[in-house]
């Protein structure tokens, strides 16, 4: 193996390669194209993967919403079409009976689902924004970024039913002056004064909520709108390692039981399972990644076979040259090594150029997708994948080089020299 580290070997190979330019270029293009496709495809797929990941970043991946609808089956003497109402104590029961649950946030809103938005006023300015009644635990399920100096609703707010509010960016812009600090300021929600304790940053990639949402303590909301123990819907997060679809089923079964609904009444409670939706999308993008891996490797393979093919032809063309080399004292091993190393060297060069071009294309894609409304971020190929592809190419290049190399030494030097 010492010949590999011998400078002379490489000079000889470099000489042979650089002086047969057309052959070299054609040979290189095959593998270059292969690795380019591989890098570009898998990088692009990774970009989509990252895009979906960041889309779901702002919300717990195994979370779901559950709300009440009306029954579609008669049960225990109740008629069909009974309007159901979720209650605060349902949360406690669920927490006790379903161990897979991590967080339950009962929520109420005014301004969605048919109710008119609250009218918000401050001095001579006013507007309508949806108002949410929330517990602090809600931020565990859907994290809210709060601007410096502010905070979200805390437990004391709940206990004392404080009249405090967390407002949105848009609300701040519309109700406060530009250089005015909203924290500590007062706004009027449906004729009741609230002190602003925080401004939440609107995250467009979250896909839920808006930049005008106002959050107030659940207990304050209850008093303000006289909702009693009614809950609009539950935001629920399950533990990371559980089957969210099954948890969803359990929750609904429990709710049917609590609210005396027929056990088979599927329409009594509505739900939206983010975890399931997320898994589906991740599965889709995993599929794309796998596909691009297969396509990329197949293309590399085709490229390497192309190199083998061209080297095979070139060995035929160079029969005489190889005969002369052997007449001058090249051993069969030296001739064989030269052909194999030419193959490996060409594969490597092509691979490296392909990787560079692929990376350039990815950064181009990245700059083009910077500000589009499509989940696409940071298309990259992990270094191990790149190194793996290079390793595959070197191995394949060696294996495919063996064929022409064997052919080169199978011809006797005397026959090689006779060839005209």
């Amino acid at each position: 193996m010492r010949f590999i580290f011998d400078r002379n070997t490489w000079q000889e190979i470099f000489g042979s390669i650089s002086k047969n330019k057309i052959r070299t270029i054609i040979t290189i293009i095959g593998v270059l194209w292969g690795i380019f496709i591989y890098i570009a495809l898998s990088g692009a797929a990774k970009g989509m993967d990252n895009g979906f990941e960041s889309m779901f970043e702002s919300i717990a991946r195994n979370s779901m919403f559950v709300w009440a609808q009306s029954t579609s089956m008669p049960h225990e003497g109740y008629k069909t079409g009974r309007q159901l109402q979720l209650k605060l104590e349902d949360a406690t029961t669920m927490e006790n009976r379903i161990p897979e649950l991590q967080y339950i946030a009962p929520r109420n809103v005014k301004g969605f689902f048919g109710s008119t938005p609250a009218s918000i006023g401050r001095a001579n300015k006013s507007g309508s924004y949806p108002v949410f009644g929330d517990f602090p635990v809600f931020t565990k399920i859907a994290p809210k970024k709060i601007y410096d100096g502010g905070r979200f609703i805390n437990d004391e707010d709940i206990d004392q039913a404080r009249k405090v509010a967390v407002i949105g960016e848009r609300t701040q812009q519309e109700l406060f002056e530009k250089d005015e600090d909203p924290i500590g300021g007062y706004i009027k929600i449906d004729d009741v004064y609230f002190q602003v304790v925080g401004v939440h940053k609107f995250d467009a990639s979250g896909g839920f909520g808006g930049d005008g949402d106002i959050f107030i303590p659940f207990t304050t909301f209850r008093r303000l709108y006289n909702t009693g123990d009614d809950v609009g819907w539950f935001s629920i997060a399950a533990h990371d390692d559980v089957d969210v679809v099954k948890v969803e089923e359990n929750i609904k079964a429990l709710l049917r039981n609590l609210h005396r609904v027929h056990p088979e009444d599927e329409r009594a409670f509505g739900s939206f399972n983010l975890g399931e939706a997320f898994n589906r999308i991740i599965g889709f993008s995993k599929g794309i990644t796998f596909l691009s891996l297969i396509v990329g490797i197949a293309t590399i393979l085709a490229g390497v076979i192309g190199i083998g093919n061209i080297l095979l032809i070139s060995v035929k063309e160079r029969t005489k040259e190889l005969g002369v080399r052997r007449a001058l004292g090249a051993t069969p091993a030296e001739v064989r090594n030269q052909i194999i190393l030419e193959s490996v060297f060409l594969t490597m060069i092509a691979g490296i150029i392909g990787i560079i071009l692929g990376a350039a294309t990815l950064s181009l894609i990245n700059s083009f997708t910077q500000n589009i409304d499509f989940p696409y971020t940071n298309p990259t190929v992990p270094i191990p994948y790149v190194l793996g592809a290079l390793a595959i190419m070197v191995i394949l290049g060696t294996l495919i080089g063996l064929i022409p190399a064997q052919r080169a030494v199978s011809i006797k030097p005397i026959d090689a020299l006779r060839e005209e």
């Binding site: 002369v324 080399r325 052997r326 001058l328 051993t331 069969p332 030296e334 005397i414």
Partner: protein, 233 residues
């Protein structure tokens, strides 16, 4: 230098066997310039190929510089060729993508000589054949005579024991042929052993000894009075 005893060689052509060499006995001393003559089919090229270890005899003994040449595998043959022999071919057999100097340096590469040393030595031998200025030219930029001189420089660069020339003037016009023979004579004058295969009488007479081959046997082995090629140039 070369010792050959009862050398036989036959080629199998399908079911027929062609007996090319039928018991050759001959020896060459150091410093000799021997012409091997014969018409085509006489076996002269076959003999040279066996001497050059490019081909193997069926039977007989071959000793080169005291080393018995037998049981050759390709690797061993390659090593012996590199160490003992220099080849000059009728069709020059230069490597077309290497320039004159690189062609001359090639056998030195297989002697594992370093690049710099190789190039220096190649230039020295190119100088001896009068082609220093053509060192960086590719073979297709050289005339036939120049190509053959590069080939001779390449054969000499490895400092072989014996120089084997197979019809070295076969592809050249007579003026160029004499130039090449002049060069071969000069190399011989320095004490090198040279074997020249030819079918041309005047070329053969520029050697010191002529071995006539006919139908696979030596029919005549004579010392001749050398005609200096320089007289014709």
């Amino acid at each position: 230098m070369i010792e050959i005893k009862d050398l036989h060689k036959s080629y199998k052509m399908g079911s027929n066997s062609l007996h090319v060499l039928k018991g050759i006995n001959f020896s060459v001393k150091e410093g000799e310039l021997v012409a091997i003559m014969g018409s085509s089919g006489s076996g002269k090229s076959t003999l040279l190929n066996i001497l050059g270890m490019l081909d193997e005899a069926n039977s007989g003994e071959y000793t080169l510089d005291g080393v018995p040449i037998k049981d050759l595998n390709e690797t061993k043959a390659a090593k012996y060729r590199n160490k003992f022999l220099g080849f000059v071919f009728q069709s020059f057999n230069l490597i077309n993508y290497k320039n004159a100097m690189e062609n001359v340096a090639l056998p030195l590469y297989y002697q594992k000589m370093g690049r710099k040393e190789r190039q220096e030595k190649a230039l020295k031998y190119l100088g001896q054949v009068g082609l220093t200025e053509w060192a960086t030219h590719l073979p297709n930029e050289l005339s036939g005579g120049q190509k053959q001189r590069v080939a001779i420089a390449r054969a000499m660069a490895a400092e072989p024991k014996v120089l084997l020339a197979d019809e070295p003037t076969g592809a050249l016009d007579s003026t160029t042929s004499f130039e090449v023979m002049d060069l071969i004579q000069k190399i011989n004058d320095q004490g090198n052993t040279i074997l020249v295969v030819t079918h041309e009488d005047d070329i053969a007479h520029m050697c010191k000894r002529i071995v006539h081959l006919k139908d696979g046997v030596i029919v005549k082995d004579e010392k001749v009075k050398q005609v200096r090629a320089s007289e014709y140039v």
